[in-house]
Symmetry: C2
């Protein structure tokens, strides 16, 4: 069997690591958002793929919340000496990923191939697949104009009002081959939408027709884990974006966003009172402590997801 | 007046720094070998330009003898984790130079422009000019086949026998514009060939027709500083290559190599006995302590070069 987890960055990466801990080798495929990807200083940076790779390999910095642990910043601090003021911090260890990826892509490898090669080198026992090998780029519509995602997210620190989101290239992007093969062979026995930003992490994936269609035609259950706990996002701009785009910042708001797409939603205990309203949308509910702070809590949320899939099957 | 110094890597960079200390602002132009340049991991690495930039800015590691001081190697050590065994060490600080250069070249800047921008950012008061903006690549003919220079120099540690050297692209490479303008305006009042490897550092420059012709037609004196002291190269494979290519490993051997090209040669005191034989070639001789170990010794050799230029004028 294959479990497919749709993941954005850090929150998704935590659940993917948890699922990897409870699934057998080869039973998990993490499909990762590439809408955040961008080229910086000529290097292809794929923040969500890297978050999943690093978390799964135990290389992530859990205190800072992004990038690699034991990181150094000598590259970053050397740039201004040479006349370049950088607004995007690339750590020295992290840079190895970007430089290698860029070089392998330049030599003709697909992003799927590059990612698989790195996952293999890191000794991971599950597949990590970008949602597409074609470029999809998230843009945020703000009063300052349409901003490329990293421009909004990092340079402008998510401060501008978000009036809308678009995914350039999504309409013609093909679903990455490894997932297409699994789905078309009927080998997917469950789908998990990770607790990632519904708009800018999961949104780009659902904008890829090949993924949206396969999810719509699936026979296996699909459950999501709410990225909102007690009215707040654990990390990142999800809560701010939900509010600005007119969605209630709650597990119920998440359920409304995914209504028609998911069969079940895993909520935090603090949001259990919203279960009846969510069930009224035709969505089954699982309840647990969804805050993932260590390996145990990651596996707890992973198990809750699998249990809900079983109940929805 | 403009003094033009033809420089390879570390030895040349030391004399260039010394000359910068005794010349007024804007009176010195360092023309640097690019035959060692290569693309590694998709990054343009220009070892000799970087040696001159770092030494002039006081950023070089004088103990290790190459690269930047206070360097860290986290990028390098992260590559094998991702499945790439690297044979060329790129330091984290050094990497900023390669990544920026590669990105600026990709955006359409010439190597001359990139180098000038970095020299300006580093606060240097003299010009650093690559010998050409066109690609010239040194190859070494060995019993193992023809090796690209860094393959011979770094990966194979100069161990294979050197049977010959060729400079791919030199025949059609144009002299970099800043030097062409100075030379054609008659503004060059002296040429110094730095104590760099005559074959693989100075050789590629002399293989560029625009530089060779302007040197041949010059009205200002040209002096060299011997890279051989007491029968040994201070650093690098110059002595080994001279021997393998049938040249005596001595200041006299250097003089024979440059005969017809230079008006004067600065020797180390330990080689003063060779002065008559060198003068018999029509080359005037200056003698000093040519080992450059600190700022004082670099300026001493710089002054000896300028004095010999004055005597040859």
């Amino acid at each position: 069997m294959t479990l497919v987890a749709l993941s954005g960055g850090v929150g998704g990466a935590k659940l993917v690591s948890g699922l990897a801990g409870v699934c057998g080798p080869g039973e998990l495929m993490a499909v990762v958002n590439t809408g955040d990807d961008f080229d910086y200083l000529g290097l292809r940076v794929c923040p969500d793929i890297d978050s999943v790779l690093y978390a799964a390999a135990g290389l992530n910095d859990s205190v800072r919340g992004w990038g690699r642990e034991n990181e150094s910043w000598n590259f970053h601090h050397s740039l201004p000496q040479l006349g370049f003021e950088s607004w995007f911090m690339l750590g020295d260890r992290d840079l190895a990923t970007h430089v290698l990826r860029t070089d392998w892509l330049r030599q003709g490898a697909t992003l799927s191939e590059v990612t698989a090669r790195m996952a293999h080198a890191l000794g991971l026992a599950f597949d990590i697949v970008p949602m597409s090998d074609d470029a999809v780029r998230t843009h945020v519509d703000t009063p300052e104009g349409v901003l490329a995602f990293q421009d909004y997210f990092v340079r402008r620190r998510c401060e501008p009002l978000c009036r809308g989101i678009r995914f350039e290239g999504a309409g013609t992007a093909r679903l990455a081959a490894p997932l297409a093969r699994q789905a078309d062979a009927g080998a997917v026995q469950g789908w998990v939408i990770c607790p990632s930003n519904p708009f800018v992490s999961i949104g780009p994936m659902l904008a890829v027709p090949g993924l949206r269609d396969r999810l719509g035609q699936r026979r296996a259950p699909c459950v999501a884990v709410s990225p909102i706990i007690a009215g707040q996002a654990v990390k990142g701009p999800a809560a701010k974006m939900m509010a600005e785009l007119g969605l209630e910042v709650s597990a119920l708001g998440v359920a409304r966003r995914y209504a028609g797409l998911i069969d079940g939603l895993v909520l935090d205990r603090r949001d259990a009172a919203q279960a009846p309203a969510i069930e009224a949308l035709g969505i089954r509910v699982g309840v647990t402590d969804t805050l993932m702070t260590d390996a145990d809590s990651r596996e707890r949320v992973a198990r809750a997801s699998l249990e809900l899939i079983a109940r929805c099957g």
